[in-house]
């Protein structure tokens, strides 16, 4: 079942038409990651070009979130072997904020709540740090409003403290709103569908598709369930278990997953 088909898929998809020499590539090479001396990621290879859409699926505890955090430079994780490269240059020595400035965005599974920091002020500070100071405040605010409407966010949510008192669904939408405002080159979305009702999953998926299309963002969506993929069209699907990618393929792999569950991949992997 394990198929290293990415390269051949790239030659058969429309994304292949993109000139990869000019595009950005996030590359993970033989990555091993430890948390408190326990190895969580045990040798992963992955290559995401901007504009590509990858999905990472796997059972609980397989290391998907750890991989996302390792790419973002979470200080409690230690890369013991391998490398993470952007356009062929290692980013392992870069701090988290420097990685964000390179265009990498991590949507958190459980975003932190910070009392007192206004949501709009936070987006403004973040936007300022990555793209430079906001020149046209009116335009900036109107874009936030427009994006929040597209995400069907409740009026007034922007006036609250960062993620404080947000429901699970509101938090996910707030993360996608940030993604839209920050226009990343690569976005790692860690369970963007958890905590969302059926309608909200569709709204979030549509917004992610739109943002990725607007900015040519390379996506790595981490999810347990295939429901969100009804509204998204991933080109590459990776199945992860026990810190390794045990299967890869195109979106047809999801059907197999739906029918046989992770067990089938784990056993065959």
């Amino acid at each position: 079942m394990k198929r290293m088909v990415r390269d051949c898929l790239r030659s058969t998809t429309s994304i292949d038409d993109v000139d990869l020499v000019d595009s950005m590539i996030l590359e993970i090479k033989n990555l091993h990651v430890c948390a408190e001396d326990k190895e969580i990621i045990k040798g992963i290879d992955l290559k995401i070009a901007d504009g590509e859409f990858h999905v990472l699926m796997g059972p609980n505890g397989s290391g998907k979130t750890t991989l996302g955090k390792a790419i973002m430079g979470y200080p409690k994780l230690k890369v013991t072997q391998g490398d993470i490269l952007v356009d062929g240059k290692s980013i392992l020595e870069l701090k988290t904020d420097e990685r964000a400035k390179l265009g990498i965005f991590l949507q958190f599974q459980n975003p932190v709540e910070i009392d007192g920091i206004g949501f709009v002020n936070f987006i403004n500070a973040s936007h300022g740090a990555i793209n430079g100071p906001t020149k046209d405040v009116k335009k900036f605010l109107s874009e936030i409003k427009e994006r929040s409407q597209r995400l069907h966010m409740k009026d007034g949510i922007q006036k609250r403290s960062l993620n404080q008192g947000f429901s699970g669904g509101e938090k996910k939408k707030a993360e996608i709103l940030q993604m839209g405002m920050l226009r990343p080159k690569f976005a790692i979305l860690d369970e963007p569908d958890s905590g969302l009702d059926i309608d909200a999953i569709k709204v979030v998926a549509e917004n992610v598709n739109e943002i990725a299309k607007e900015n040519g963002t390379g996506l790595l969506v981490i999810t347990h369930y295939s429901r969100i993929l009804n509204y998204m069209k991933p080109q590459f699907v990776h199945i992860m278990s026990s810190g390794k990618i045990i299967a890869e393929g195109d979106s047809s792999i999801i059907k197999t997953l739906e029918e046989k569950g992770y067990e089938a991949f784990v056993n065959e992997g």
Binding site: K95, A100, V112, I117, G118, F119, N121, S126, A129, Q158
Partner: protein, 434 residues
């Protein structure tokens, strides 16, 4: 008490009183080292050195140009400008009548450093509003030598409203001391909003004494920003003496490097239906230290009154230290009274989240400081002051140094500030769990 007796009483009390008189806090106070007070001459009433009007005016000009704040009165070392409003009087301490000294709210026997300021203040600033009058004043205090002692007496008559902003700065080149006593008397139905900014430089020991009394249905709203000075010692109290009287006190502290702050504020409900709030917030980095002492007392007979002391601390470095000591004494049954205190270091997960959004440590700290202190700053009604104080805070988070007068920060975006932390709402929310 005549002036000579008052002076002799002040000098005597300064020499004999301990630095911390209260039994409650005698283990928790910050010592004022000798180098800040040893040069004070008690044989002469004069402040140290000659008047340096040019330096004082240059400082004032810098603040006006950068912050856009114009001052109605400038008080410097051996210098007082001509007040721009007839409600502001400059009075010689030596010429005051006996009644004035008898009615002073901060008596020399109350506090060692109140005694020092009483002994060394030459000119008293008196602001007196008549019934129904409304005025806004900005006063600058700037020390360009080694000492500056001042007193502001505000008397707000029935139905009047006074908005007063005090800027305390310094350009002292050697260890110096800067002391202020604010005494405020609010009559029935009168209102006063007092905003005090301490932005003295690192050579200064700051002594801030403030006392207020509020009569029936009067209101005293106070904001104190302790940002400057190497060492700050603040002692304040508000007595609500009339039914339905109200006081809302918001304090912010930003300590960097080795700054030390000792802030003690008492709120007293002495009449029925009165409401007293104290909300203190401190952010500390490096090896700075702050002691926050808030005490609420409800006197016998103050039925149906409410009181709330709320203290919060945020540590940006694990070498900084906050002692938060809220206290309460309640002598009446039919009241709502509560206090709370919480101090924490910056959560690593929060820092990671902020840095994942492109912010380096300084930018993250800026946002956290804005968020933490913001609710107490944006309560200030005058937006110019909100921007000025926020700009000074931003500059200090970035450069650590105190006493700087920066350009107004372009980074401040006061579109919204997260939760509105209204003191009365906090009290009600907190009280429901009791």
């Amino acid at each position: 008490m005549e002036y000579n007796d008052f002076l002799s009483d002040a000098k005597g009390n300064y020499k004999k009183l301990p630095e911390e008189k209260s039994e409650l806090y005698k283990k928790n106070y910050i010592h004022i080292p000798e180098e800040y007070v040893e040069f004070i001459d008690f044989e002469s009433n004069a402040n140290y050195g000659a008047s340096d009007e040019f330096a004082i005016r240059s400082y004032e000009k810098g603040v006006a140009e950068r912050m856009g704040i114009r001052f109605d009165l400038v008080v410097g070392s051996n210098f007082v400008s001509v007040p721009k409003n007839m409600h502001i009087e400059i009075l010689e301490a030596g010429s005051m009548e006996k009644e004035f000294f008898d009615n002073k709210l901060f008596k020399s026997v109350d506090d060692k450093f109140a005694a020092l300021i009483n002994a060394k203040t030459e000119k008293i600033i008196r602001i007196k509003l008549g019934e129904g009058e409304k005025e806004n004043f900005n006063i600058m205090f700037v020390n360009t030598s080694r000492q500056l002692f001042s007193q502001v007496i505000c008397e707000v008559a029935e139905g009047a409203e006074l908005n007063l902003f005090e800027w305390h700065g310094s350009d002292a080149q050697r260890s110096s001391v800067q002391g202020i006593i604010n005494e405020t008397k609010i009559e029935e139905m009168a209102k006063m909003n007092l905003v005090v900014l301490h932005n003295e430089n690192e050579n200064t020991a700051v002594l801030d004494m403030h006392r207020g009394t509020v009569k029936s249905h009067g209101s005293l709203v106070q904001h104190f920003a302790y940002i400057g000075g190497r060492i700050t010692r603040a002692r304040g109290s508000v007595d609500l003496n009339g039914s339905g009287a109200h006081t809302d006190n918001a304090e912010i502290v930003l300590g960097t490097l080795d700054q030390k702050m000792d802030i003690c504020t008492d709120i007293v409900n002495a009449a029925k239906g009165s409401l007293a709030l104290l909300d203190s917030k401190a952010v500390l980095s490096d090896t700075s230290r702050c002691i926050l002492k808030g005490f609420a007392s409800i006197k016998d007979g103050a039925i149906a009154s409410r009181s709330f002391v709320h203290e919060r601390g945020l540590l940006l470095d694990n070498t900084a230290k906050i002692d938060s000591i809220p206290g309460m004494s309640v002598d009446e049954y039919d009241v709502k009274a509560t206090h709370s205190s919480a101090t924490a270091p910056i959560d690593e997960e929060s820092l990671f989240y902020l840095s994942s959004r492109g912010m380096n440590k300084t930018q993250a700290n800026l946002l956290l400081v804005d968020g933490f202190l913001g609710s107490n700053i944006t309560k200030i009604k005058d937006t110019r002051l909100v921007y000025a104080i926020s700009s000074i805070l931003h500059d200090k988070v970035i450069n650590k140094k105190c006493g700087i007068v920066p350009e107004l920060s372009k980074e401040i975006m006061l579109i919204e500030t997260g939760n509105e932390e209204d003191g009365e709402r906090l009290l009600e929310e907190h009280y429901k769990y009791r």
